[in-house]
């Protein structure tokens, strides 16, 4: 069974807006891939061809871009993708414990997807949240900071009932406690 993909009128209008930001026709490929991935959930070769045709550039170029950047899903992933950071600070603060907990809980290893297609786990490089380690990102979207195994459990359970965690605003520390640090 081969699925066909196409952009609707609104998508094409959005793509025209994107194209207007760049002076040549190759440059919009990254934002258009983002748009396609948001719409279809992945950018498998059939989608890459659609992007190539829409922008009138070679499909090989689109494939080259998709395979270079880790956030483009060149093959299908689960509905929710857990990107668990394990780089340096997260490593120091227990990122691997979180990863292994998640692996045990879902019964899959990093790089795999559960049979029901709900969850994928990936061990990823630094996501730029080092002060709030260990952390993970869900499907290129929300950041979950200061993870504990309990917090991971509640996030997974929440997602099973369709509840995506909300954006956690982390207050700027100097905006908070002024009298506490002024001894001296």
């Amino acid at each position: 069974m081969k699925e066909t993909y196409e952009f609707n009128k609104e998508d094409l209008a959005e793509i025209e807006k994107i194209k207007a930001k760049y002076p040549d026709k190759k440059s919009p490929v990254m934002p258009v891939l983002w748009l396609a991935q948001e719409k279809f959930g992945h950018v498998e070769p059939a989608v890459q061809h659609l992007v190539a045709e829409t922008l009138d550039i070679p499909a090989a170029h689109v494939y080259g871009v998709v395979s270079f950047y880790t956030q483009y899903y060149g093959e299908r992933k689960g509905k929710f993708v857990f990107d668990v950071c394990t780089t340096l600070t997260c490593q120091l603060c227990g990122g691997y414990d979180i990863l292994h907990h998640l692996e045990n809980k879902l019964g899959i290893k990093a790089g795999e997807t559960t049979e029901d297609g709900m969850f994928s786990i990936q061990s990823v490089e630094c996501l730029g949240a080092c002060g709030y380690a260990p952390m993970m990102q869900i499907t290129n979207g929300v950041y979950c900071n200061n993870l504990t195994t309990e917090k991971v459990d509640s996030i997974v359970d929440g997602l099973k009932s369709g509840k995506m965690p909300e954006f956690e605003q982390i207050p700027f520390p100097q905006h908070q406690d002024e009298p506490k640090n002024s001894e001296g």
Partner: protein
């Protein structure tokens, strides 16, 4: 020399609620500096003022921003660009996102002033793709600035036109390197370019381009408001200004803190971050992102966070993303993880980097798993020598430095893990 940080009030991210909203920003002197520049300054005067302030690039290299601007050729009527670097992918770095979240308009104002100074047509704000939430915040701020006439055609009635666009990355450390960032903006794989030609001669789409870090550009309105002399009096003499320290690891209160440059590392750990978790001793400090050489915990006395002090101590300021490790940290494990990162992120263009990062990681796995030999330590250092300075961009150096300095400065950790294959002659 100690800086007076206790009485310092944040300037880049001041304590004003809802400053990310344009109305609040305007109420607190926002976009007044842009108005002043457009009305009273010539582009040359802006460049001179910023050069005199000696804003040193906050993205890692620490180059004088005004001097970089002065490399742009004379305008010839064709497009010129700024690429604002918010890729922020060096492990340990998470500071620019604070600007996107808490004070995006300061950055927009700074970038527009920079645009006026260099006759720029468009600013592309490159933000790493993982920062989806912050990309949306930045886009909202830009839309608001357009609506109020601070961006777009005829900015504040001055006749100066400039556009600003956000470009989302998609997960590649290398795209923080300036020429790779331009390749990525042009819709290609992020392969760094051979220099020369430098971006000021041939940058985005072959046109003159300046690449500045987000935090660097956010400093510009402060200089215009208060003057270069005021700015130079903040923090360390040769590396002035406020800086966002991103502190992570085994401290009690990790996070991003804004203080003057030149703060002592011990003050940052014990006073600002509330000391080490569990009262443990410091074993190692990486001062500016994972590629900067680590310092020993027992050699931190008097070391300050500015280019000169850190150079004397044997490291670099980098992005001021500090990673603090306590006495229980296994440096072999840490170094393996750093090497794994650079192996994963090497773009693969140059052999010394593509293969070198792999060999470093393999050798470190061997040592980590207890199969290493004493000579492997020398092999690691030899590999570093064969990588440093032999590639198009600095990723190979960034991968080699932590290895070189962790192996030499924490040699006892490594010697404990390898088989002793040096036998005395009978």
């Amino acid at each position: 020399m100690a800086v007076d940080w206790r009485n310092f009030e944040p300037l880049l991210i001041p304590k004003i609620p809802n400053l990310h909203k344009i109305e609040v920003f305007e109420k607190h002197d926002g976009y007044k500096q842009l108005a002043k520049v457009l009305k009273e300054y010539t582009p040359e005067k802006v460049v001179d003022e910023v050069k005199a302030a000696n804003i040193r690039g906050r993205g890692g290299a620490g180059f004088n921003a005004g001097l970089k601007w002065s490399f742009m050729p004379k305008p010839d009527g064709k497009p010129r660009y700024i690429a604002a670097n918010g890729d922020e992918s060096e492990p340990g770095t998470f500071k620019d996102r604070q600007i996107f979240e808490y004070n995006p308009h300061l950055f927009i104002e700074g970038a527009t002033i920079a645009g006026f100074a260099m006759h720029i047509d468009a600013v592309y704000v490159y933000i790493r793709g993982e920062y989806k939430a912050w990309i949306d915040m930045m886009q909202k701020a830009i839309d608001d600035a357009y609506a109020k006439g601070y961006l777009g055609k005829n900015i504040m009635g001055s006749g100066y036109d400039m556009d600003m666009y956000v470009h989302s990355g998609a997960g590649a450390y290398i795209c923080g390197e300036e020429s790779s960032l331009m390749e990525s903006l042009e819709g290609k794989r992020g392969y760094p370019r051979v220099k020369p030609p430098f971006p000021a001669q041939k940058g985005l789409w072959g046109r003159p381009t300046t690449i500045n870090n987000i935090e660097t550009l956010a400093n510009v309105p402060l200089v215009i408001k208060n003057g270069a002399d005021w700015y130079k009096a903040i923090g360390a003499e040769s590396h002035p200004g406020p800086v966002l320290y991103g502190i992570s690891g085994h401290v009690n209160k990790p996070g991003v803190y804004e203080y003057p440059t030149g703060m002592s590392i011990n003050d940052l750990i014990y006073e600002v971050c509330g000391g080490m978790r569990g009262g443990k001793k410091v074993k190692a400090v990486i001062p500016g992102g994972s590629s900067t050489p680590p310092l020993r915990g027992d050699a931190l006395e008097g070391v300050c966070m500015d280019a000169d002090s850190l150079r004397t101590a044997g490291s670099m300021m980098g992005t001021a993303g500090m990673i603090i490790m306590d006495e229980d940290t296994d440096m072999v494990d840490v170094l393996w993880r750093i090497s794994h990162f650079y192996h994963h992120e090497s773009c693969g263009q140059c052999t010394p980097c593509r293969d070198g990062t792999g060999f470093l990681e393999k050798t470190l796995i061997k040592i980590r798993d207890g199969h290493g030999e004493m000579r492997d330590l020398d092999l690691l250092l030899d590999l570093c020598t064969q990588m440093e300075g032999r590639t198009i961009c600095a990723l190979a150096d960034a991968a080699a430095w932590p290895v070189r300095y962790t192996v030499t400065r924490f040699r006892e950790d490594f010697e404990k893990r390898v088989k002793n294959t040096v036998y005395a002659l009978a």
